[in-house]
């Protein structure tokens, strides 16, 4: 189903922050509802898409949609890094923001049917993958193994801990976590996230891998996956670039011949390799 006609393209729609949840240090999740009920009703997105969020008085920036497309609440998980995000962190429930979107291609879910899905995320790389994970779990019978491998700097840097506990109750969901530096009460793994690939005994045939995280983690995970025989076009990631317009006009998000806002943000590793730029 295409929601092309209900995209908010030019003028941001006003929305209210309903609830704010602390996730980890400097990352919060904001639950948002459009003021216009018609807009709220028609606002649909695909896993992997993004919105442009306006913080009044500060500016606009791009954020992934972590909610599952079918029945999740509209929310954004955001790390404080600069002008717009710091202004957002000053806001409270009841404050207004502006939203445009959803933009981008999203994950081609129809192609994943019957396959094993491996999600590998480092730190807040789990944000753009959350939507897809929840969606896959909601349609558990459509897929083979569903494996989530998470890496974080410390146990306190693990995104969506409550969610993960919920997901673990779903039969056949496999999740492995590792941290770079353990805390005193940490009983789990330590080490970099690619070490979990063996632990999970990841499949390579009939398998799609989703990899999101800092460049160094990204490269080592991809290297390990390919060493095990996973094909370049079965590895997916979402790319981040500076975005200004979200609709393919400003060219800020251009990488080689592709625009992240309209052609991306989801690319196969095969595509990423031909873009001729760093991750």
């Amino acid at each position: 189903m295409s929601n092309m006609d209900n995209k908010i393209v030019t003028l941001p729609e006003i929305a209210t922050i309903e609830e704010i949840k602390e996730e980890i240090q400097d990352v919060k999740t904001f639950y948002i509802k459009f003021d216009n009920p018609e807009v709220q009703k028609n606002f649909k997105w695909k896993s992997g898409q993004i919105v442009m969020l306006t913080i009044f008085g500060a500016g606009e920036a791009a954020f992934s949609l972590p909610g599952a497309p079918e029945n999740d609440r509209f929310h954004l998980s955001i790390k404080r890094v600069g002008k717009v995000t710091s202004a957002l962190f000053e806001l409270e429930p009841g404050d207004k923001v502006g939203i445009r979107g959803p933009f981008g291609n999203g994950f081609p879910f129809a192609e994943f049917k019957g396959k094993n899905l491996i999600y590998v995320a480092g730190g807040i790389g789990l944000i753009p993958l959350r939507s897809s994970i929840v969606h896959a779990l909601q349609h558990r019978e459509d897929f083979g193994r569903i494996i989530v491998l998470l890496g974080a700097r410390t146990p306190n840097d693990l995104m969506y801990q409550n969610n993960i506990e919920e997901w673990l109750k779903i039969p056949g969901f496999e999740c492995y976590v590792t941290v770079d530096q353990a805390t005193a009460d940490w009983k789990g793994e330590t080490g970099f996230v690619h070490t979990l690939l063996d632990k999970a005994n990841v499949p390579v045939d009939n398998t799609m891998a989703f990899v999101c995280g800092p460049p160094i983690m990204f490269n080592s995970v991809i290297g390990e996956l390919m060493k095990r025989g996973l094909r370049e076009d079965n590895i997916l990631s979402t790319l981040e670039r500076h975005m200004k317009c979200g609709i393919g006009k400003c060219q800020h998000c251009a990488i080689g011949r592709t625009l992240v806002c309209t052609d991306g943000p989801v690319y196969t590793y095969k595509q990423i390799k031909t873009l001729g730029e760093e991750i």
Binding site: T54, F56, G57, I247, R257
Partner: protein, 351 residues
């Protein structure tokens, strides 16, 4: 086709000025530089002026413009936001074929992709365009290499061609036709088709002698640029000469990269501004944590020329992105305007 005497041609502009904001090439009294400006009176416009320093893209894509205005009352939790479109009716009088082709390229890019750019669309909606055939080329021109001159064949409401002591007036739209009728212009006989062709052939023949600054046989290198079969050294050589000043993008009739910034005003409202940007600036693709994926300057140069000279980009424009105006060659302190880049690439091909 219609005719108007040379000394009456500005009457067309005067009539347009009654219902449109009028823009055209103006020669600055003191500096003798040519700018494409908004004029108070049609008499300020010169149809014989050289091509303007900045292209008329400024009329449809201003260097800086407010696109949205909003106000947020944090205490009352009340937000108001609205687009601030430029909804004036604008007539551009005397645009040269290369620059008109520039506007056609911008039209295809802003209006013809997956999304329509509403801000640009509003600029274009109520426009009247009068183009002006170049009966002699200027020194920097190479439109004959880029198929964008010396005469326009689309995109205008009226097209003027100086023939002897008359201007041939061609209509390119219903709006143009209605205007010509309203002005009571005299119909031109069929002999003017041949007369116009003669004028254009003469103009083309003058390129060899007059337009000596630049040549750029872009068709010869488009394939190379598209497939990427150009040695890194060539891009490096080009990149090394670039000062990253952005001038080339600013003067180019088809460069359209922009930035968006919110500007807070004293009255508590905010203007969302969109302003020209350039892919040659280092900050263009900078991201969080000072991570800049497009590092070396040659990559950024590569990007601009890819944008102008590749088949893949031409698909968006339905033609090459360069319209042969020569402005970038004119302003570039590193002497790597597009014509020179084409030469570097060609030289590598023949070697």
């Amino acid at each position: 086709m219609y005719l108007i005497e040379k000394n009456n041609v500005m009457k067309l502009a005067e009539e347009l000025a009654k219902s449109y904001d009028l823009y055209g090439p103006v020669i600055d009294n003191e500096t003798k530089q040519v700018f494409f400006n908004k004029v108070e009176s049609a008499s300020e416009i010169s149809l014989t002026a050289e091509i303007p320093a900045l292209p008329p893209k400024t009329v449809v894509f201003p260097q800086i413009e407010r696109i949205t205005q909003y106000k947020y009352d944090k205490v009352g939790k009340k937000a108001e936001i609205a687009m601030t479109y430029d909804d004036r009716s604008k007539a551009i009088f005397g645009i040269r074929p290369c620059d008109l082709t520039g506007i056609i390229v911008l039209d295809r890019f802003f209006l013809g992709q997956e999304f329509v750019d509403d801000v640009y669309k509003e600029h274009r909606k109520r426009m009247f365009i009068v183009s002006n055939t170049c009966v002699v080329p200027f020194k920097q021109c190479f439109c004959v290499c880029t198929d964008s001159g010396p005469a326009a064949d689309e995109g205008y409401d009226l097209n003027l061609t100086e023939i002897g002591d008359m201007y041939l007036v061609e209509t390119g739209s219903e709006k143009g036709k209605a205007f010509a009728e309203k002005m009571g212009l005299k119909p031109a006989g069929d002999e003017y088709i041949a007369l116009k062709k003669k004028v254009i052939d003469k103009s083309i023949s003058l390129f060899e002698k007059v337009a000596t600054d630049n040549k750029a046989w872009i068709s010869r290198i488009m394939n190379r640029v598209t497939t990427g079969f150009i040695k890194d050294e060539v891009w490096k050589h080009i990149g090394n000469q670039c000062f990253e000043c952005g001038a080339c993008s600013f003067v180019c009739p088809t460069c359209s990269c922009f930035n968006i910034e919110d500007h807070n005003r004293f009255d508590g409202s905010t203007d969302r501004l969109r302003e020209w940007d350039s892919c040659s600036f280092e900050g263009y693709t900078k991201m969080a944590g000072d991570h800049n994926p497009r590092h070396p300057v040659e990559d950024r140069r590569n990007k601009r020329f890819f944008c102008k000279l590749s088949y893949s980009q031409s698909k968006k424009y339905l033609r090459p992105g360069c319209v042969g105006c020569g402005r970038c060659q004119w302003v570039c302190p590193g002497d790597i305007g597009l014509p020179n880049v084409v030469t570097y690439i060609r030289r590598e091909i023949t070697e």
